[in-house]
Symmetry: C2
Subunit: 349 residues, 2 copies
Amino acid sequence: MAISSESASKSSPAGRVTLDDVAHLAQVSPATVSRCLNRPESVNLEKRTRVKQAIQALGYVPHGAARALASNQSRMVGAVFPAIDNTLFGASLDAFQRTMSDADYTVIVASSTYDPAREKQHVRRMLQSGIDALMLVGLARDDEIYELIRAHGIPYVTVWRSADHQPHPAVGFDNCAAAEHLTDYLFSLGHERIAVFSGILADNDRAQDRLAGVRKSYAKHGHKLADQYLIERPFGVEQGREMLRLIMSQDAPPTAIFCGAEPLAYGAIFEAAAQNIAVPGQVSIAAFDDTWLAAQISPKLTTVRTPNMEIGEEAAKYLIATLSGVQPPLPRPLETDLIIRESTGRPPA
Amino acid sequence: MAISSESASKSSPAGRVTLDDVAHLAQVSPATVSRCLNRPESVNLEKRTRVKQAIQALGYVPHGAARALASNQSRMVGAVFPAIDNTLFGASLDAFQRTMSDADYTVIVASSTYDPAREKQHVRRMLQSGIDALMLVGLARDDEIYELIRAHGIPYVTVWRSADHQPHPAVGFDNCAAAEHLTDYLFSLGHERIAVFSGILADNDRAQDRLAGVRKSYAKHGHKLADQYLIERPFGVEQGREMLRLIMSQDAPPTAIFCGAEPLAYGAIFEAAAQNIAVPGQVSIAAFDDTWLAAQISPKLTTVRTPNMEIGEEAAKYLIATLSGVQPPLPRPLETDLIIRESTGRPPA
DNA sequence: TTTTGATTTGAAAGCGCTTTCAAATGATAA
DNA sequence: TTATCATTTGAAAGCGCTTTCAAATCAAAA
């Protein structure tokens, strides 16, 4: 029969400090406190300061779930990336998060590991969590996901791929054109046997776009990408090394390699060094992304600079604008730059 | 005077599908539907299936905020990292997120950019969002933050640093011992002039620990770290390059360099190559983290492997266990490994 | 058959806020 | 001074769920 001190007096309850407590202390109604939180300018200055002080004094922290329930918005936004453990998406996520944070939004993040099923699952969970908006990488996915999102009536944006005639708002760049441009450059150097190191193409529209760009350039120059010049592996340095071994041991090895992502190129360069294959003397190597390593490695990597941070930031801005009632113009495709460094040159004679 | 179709009939409301709708369709009470969601085994099989079908049929998605409000738990956890755009923390975040996701938790993430004020702000916001648990990097921070967290009564865990006699649960490793060990190794090679490239020490207890470890080793060998051998810069490759330039142009340049983080080491190695300084011939370089590049770069980097993914995973597991009522043992310090590669050797004669 | 205890169920009371609505107040014009 | 309108305020009704509590049901024991 221990005596519990549970039943605290009404005037100073033991548990959480509520908005009502603040109202009490400040001698105003709960409604007024709420207004101070949401539209301070609509409250008389004197009361506003009283409330502010009461909040300070009590160390009041608003209850997010209660606010979300009552107001039907959570100030949380979701972002699902294929991966978050690399510089590429990391930079984007970082910018996205920072921009959102500055606008007083909190971000929920998840990585799909390039698996559509996981992505759908994450979207589901985020929707349940009550996110106000959502960011997704790429456009190609089950329509069911888009319907789910629409059913919840929240704005969303896809990134990393621009979409001229697409049904979905997109912040990104033209992967196909950029890839075509890079391949054109390789052709202009005199290469005709250009191999492609690609990430897994299934469920990755960015990778597909890039491959399409290469093909377009090939066609333009009256050639065709030979099957044995296309290798597909998960993104990774080791995979890049393996691909180089594979491709260079062919009967007619390529004189240039187009890498769909930078880790593949690093692997290729490292492996080339290990095998004493001169880059670009014997084989040129070019890639996508312009990560910090590109300009440091030897030979310095020729690569397409993609606007990773800008994507995160612009996507966030677009969502924020939409959420605040402005209907922002669909973001224009972002710029990419072909940065020519040392890893590409004329084909061997 | 347009006729609005707003006032929908009760039986099929226009808006959101609620638990009550499901209850109606399944011919049970809302309470039963709720039980199906939370403790299905407590509901008669027949009704349970009826409810399940109704949920399917209506495409019902529970309202997270409402659940959170009523049940006082949100199934969301927070994680604040100093940065999320690099492989190091990225790997940790990824593992954390995956583990949490498997336990049906959603993760809110933010990066403090090594700024205590931002960190506090993020913690505040997350607490408001109603997180059930929190992960923080390192132990050293304003007590106010810890009090805030305690006031909310949620479990938390600090990471990246083990804490024997610390007042806070920690998942990490002994930075000091690992650094001491690495420095010992350098001494054992015959080095006596060992410089330290450190990240900014203020507000970074991991960096401080590592420096302490170096000092300990110095002392043990009867020497003392000279002031001009300690350089402090933000983490980054460019900074590493700059530091190398600085340190090697001194009157008595060091014969070995201890880098508190890998980007610094990469910068040093790249710059050494640019300046024709032999590594390890003229100067040995060693670092912390064992990121994917360490084994690829030339010379291959001698480095301390830190358990980045394990940290994320273990931290998540600890939190999950705590949340489910189990009081898990405080995690033991994780292991680090000194991985000796090519960038270290005997000092020049 | 009745009794007992365990299991399953529903009614109803919130969780902590926002927001509508009408009342009160203040400022301005008549 | 009174009438008019804009501004500030508070009372109260939810938001969509969980959870307590007591009633109903069921199975087993008497």
